[in-house]
């Protein structure tokens, strides 16, 4: 094995990894906000809004991220809407993960027993106040683990952006491949870098779970 080759090209791969992190953070922020909208829709009291939310969730979950990226990047320009490759990838991943994150939020809120809301209302809280001070803080702790797992999936999904030539880690690996004859070394390194990022998130998650334990009474 020829890891000297890797050493000389390490900066190139690190640039790719930086782009991967940028993609993942962009999608994470988009999905965190979008997920709130999706949860608000799917839990709405108005049936049409609920259907809209559920339809969005089903479409996003039942089509591949690759196709969604292609629709945005190759399809949208035919409608006169041209997005950069980076923007297409972040937007597509934000949209798809909004569906997953929205369902995580919903499950988190629904896992809080209705008696908690009742107790808050009985103390004279307004419904919105009960949501903010009593329900959301409890739900947030419960959604932390699935949210962290979703972020790991997002990190891995960023590799799909290489199909539209975003210069992220997988794309960097492919380019090195064209320049050299060390595919085995290159992709072992790339794989280890992804593994490192996933492991870092998993580790942070463990710390967060320890710092903000889920407490249940009764």
């Amino acid at each position: 094995m020829d890891f000297a080759f890797i050493k000389t090209n390490a900066p190139f791969l690190l640039d790719g990894a930086t782009m991967t992190v940028a993609l993942a953070l962009g999608a994470l922020i988009g999905a965190t906000a979008g997920g709130a909208v999706v949860a608000a829709l799917t839990m709405s009291r108005l049936a049409p809004l609920r259907w809209l939310g559920l339809a969005f969730v089903e479409v996003m979950r039942n089509t591949p991220i690759l196709v969604q990226i292609f629709v945005l990047y190759f399809g949208m320009p035919t409608l006169g809407l041209t997005l950069s490759a980076f923007a297409s990838a972040v937007l597509a991943m934000s949209l798809q993960n909004s569906a997953y994150v929205g369902e995580i939020y919903r499950a988190g809120l629904e896992s809080i027993h209705p008696r908690q809301r009742e107790a808050a209302l009985a103390l004279g809280m307004m419904p919105g106040q009960a949501l903010r001070t009593i329900l959301l803080p409890q739900a947030l702790r419960r959604v932390l683990p699935p949210l962290g797992n979703q972020f790991i999936i997002i990190i891995k999904d960023t590799s799909v952006a290489s199909t539209i030539a975003v210069a992220e880690l997988t794309q960097a690996g492919k380019l090195l491949l064209d320049r050299s004859a060390a595919p085995y070394e290159t992709f072992t390194t790339v794989a280890l870098m992804y593994l490192g990022m996933s492991a870092a998130v998993a580790g942070l998650l463990k710390v967060a779970e320890f710092r903000f334990p889920v407490r249940v009474s009764q």
């Binding site: 107790a119 009985a122 307004m126 106040q129 409890q138 702790r141 407490r215 009474s217 009764q218």
Partner: protein
């Protein structure tokens, strides 16, 4: 008691009752769970609601702070209607959330399953509502909360989380939480039903001492001996109907209505009600 719990001067002989329940009716679908129930509770009274499971006593209690809506009749607390406004033409309109919340802030409730907030420690469970609902300053609320924790014997647990307490301790915290809002009326819904038998006594002792201080209470309970000891009056309900109401002596020793008689008989022969 060292701390005034009710902000109102307590009087056992006011002419207008604090709570007036006037021909209240409610249905769940086709089932009529409350039929024309009328009751009054004067300030300082302790009213116990007894009756078999499914008699509607818990539903009635939950209507008093409008956790449960009702479709017929009217409940008023200190002259203010609960949950609905009745227009001059007789039509009903649900009050705004803000008005309903303001009323609930004056009515404390203790639940069968304690319903403490698991993410807050004991002291925060007591202070969250005065601070968030009434925007009270931190220091006086903490002081009041600590006095109440002292009173229910749990001052040393102030920094524990609910999950670290026994059921009886949690329920005592729940009582203190309700009192921190200085309610003019306290509703207690089967507060010992979820407790292990050996923990029931500590909770009932707290309630007895509150009654001694003249706090107005409505209590749904299956503990007959306790109801007899704590109450100024007892109401017996069955099938959504208020069957008989009177002083504890009359209800327990000289029941008139046939349903109450058979209920008492089963109770005395040791059936769990």
């Amino acid at each position: 008691m060292s701390e005034p719990v009710s902000s109102e001067p307590v009087s056992r002989t006011t002419d207008t009752p604090l709570v007036v329940i006037d021909r209240v009716g409610k249905s769940f679908g086709r089932v009529e769970v409350l039929k024309d129930v009328s009751l009054t509770v004067a300030a300082g009274d302790v009213l116990s609601l007894i009756g078999p499971s499914g008699s509607g006593k818990t539903t009635l209690l939950r209507c008093v702070n409008y956790l449960e809506s009702y479709e017929r009749g009217l409940i008023t607390i200190a002259g203010e209607s609960v949950g609905v406004d009745i227009r001059p033409d007789g039509s009903r309109r649900r009050k705004a959330d803000r008005e309903i919340a303001a009323l609930r802030a004056q009515v404390g409730m203790v639940f069968q399953h304690y319903n403490l907030f698991p993410h807050l420690d004991v002291l925060e469970n007591l202070t969250v509502a005065p601070r968030r609902v009434r925007n009270e300053a931190d220091a006086p609320v903490r002081e009041r909360a600590m006095a109440l924790l002292e009173r229910v014997g749990l001052a040393d647990k102030r920094n524990r989380y609910p999950s670290e307490l026994s059921g009886g301790q949690q329920q005592r915290v729940a009582i203190a939480r309700a009192l921190t809002m200085q309610p003019r009326l306290l509703l207690l819904d089967e507060v010992t039903s979820a407790l292990d038998p050996e923990l029931v006594g500590e909770v009932l002792d707290v309630i007895l001492s509150l009654a001694g201080d003249g706090i107005t209470m409505m209590i749904v309970t299956h503990e007959m001996a306790f109801a007899r000891e704590v109450s100024t009056s007892v109401a017996f309900m069955a099938d959504g109907v208020l069957i008989e109401k009177g002083p504890p002596g009359a209800i327990f020793d000289a029941p008139r209505h046939e349903r109450l008689c058979s209920f008492m008989q089963r109770y005395r022969s040791g059936h769990r009600l």
